[in-house]
Symmetry: C2
DNA sequence: TTGATTGCAAAGCATTTGCATGCTA
DNA sequence: TAGCATGCAAATGCTTTGCAATCAA
């Protein structure tokens, strides 16, 4: 298990050394847990996960280490608009954008070379030098839409039916 | 002056009434100041502006009124990733996205029908029903790039010159 | 040994909420 | 008059900072 992600760990050590910082057990563990979790983690999320393996690690260290991972290019900070930062893998992960379901919070990642190209063209037209961008599409995901449809159907068709049997059950 | 924005004010009154709320001097003033300011205002920004005309208005009221304006469709909340919310005009303003200069904070608005269409196509492919989206391109604006270029030029050409005269001055 | 790192508590921000008072409809 | 609105202070939630103790290089 801990033998995985050797490349990412190498990148981290490189960054640590170049910046004159020090390798610590806490940083190693936080990186390890971050790497093996394929999600958009908040600092709090990661803190809870790390706590399971070392209850002595502090919230603050997780915050600081996530910032470090971002500087090292291993993590990318994303904001979905709820006021808290989330982090996702960034090393050798193709850039992508997100659709966020406002019902269930699910996120769908997508990538469009066409959109990227259009963005670059627009930036160039304004002599704007882009460093990074973020595209968020909020809405309702397929699952939640289906659920909503079924609930509506239920309302229309089985509601009277329910009334008929309701006296039998309960 | 106060005769302007009659349409927007009408929209606000409509919303107020429909929701069973009440018209107040504070709300009127906050709306007025918001409408005549064509910028991406934070609640704090608007609070300061409103304060100039009525020092008794509280920060909280501005927060609450901005939320109200958003519900009424007059304002749109945008987040540039610095942890605070900004509000821009939304009534009969075409949807647009932003480029944000990370040097000077300038924002450039843009609109691309092609990007919009591509987004819709991608959402449809995932059976995702979009309600709204936000595209932010961070980078360096034309002015800041020019400034940076000039500083570099200055460094290369006049730096030795400065050294030559430096003994004379100071 | 030296300076970076840690974890706690406290501080900082932006925003929200509780509540007594004030004011529309 | 009833109940929404206001403004203050306090509370909240996320994140950062100060600091003494600890630890890597």
């Amino acid at each position: 298990m801990s033998q995985e992600f050797t490349e990412e760990k190498e990148v981290f050590q490189q960054h640590i050394q170049k910046a004159g910082l020090k390798r610590t057990a806490q940083r190693d563990l936080i990186l390890e847990v971050f790497l093996r979790t394929e999600e958009h983690l908040t600092s709090e999320d990661l803190y809870r996960l790390v706590q399971k393996e070392d209850p002595n690690i502090g919230q603050t260290t997780v915050y600081r280490t996530l910032k470090l991972l971002t500087e090292a290019g291993l993590a990318r900070e994303v904001r979905f608009g709820d006021g808290r930062s989330r982090y996702e893998h960034n090393y050798k992960h193709q850039h992508h954008d997100h659709m966020i379901c406002t019902e269930c919070g699910a996120t769908i990642e997508f990538y469009s070379a066409e959109i990227e190209a259009l963005q670059d063209a627009i930036a160039a037209k304004h002599r704007f030098q882009p460093t990074y961008h973020s595209l968020r599409i909020n809405g309702i995901c397929a699952d939640c839409r289906r659920r909503a449809r079924e609930e509506k159907k239920h309302e229309l068709t089985s509601q009277p039916h329910v009334r008929l049997v309701s006296s039998t059950h309960e």
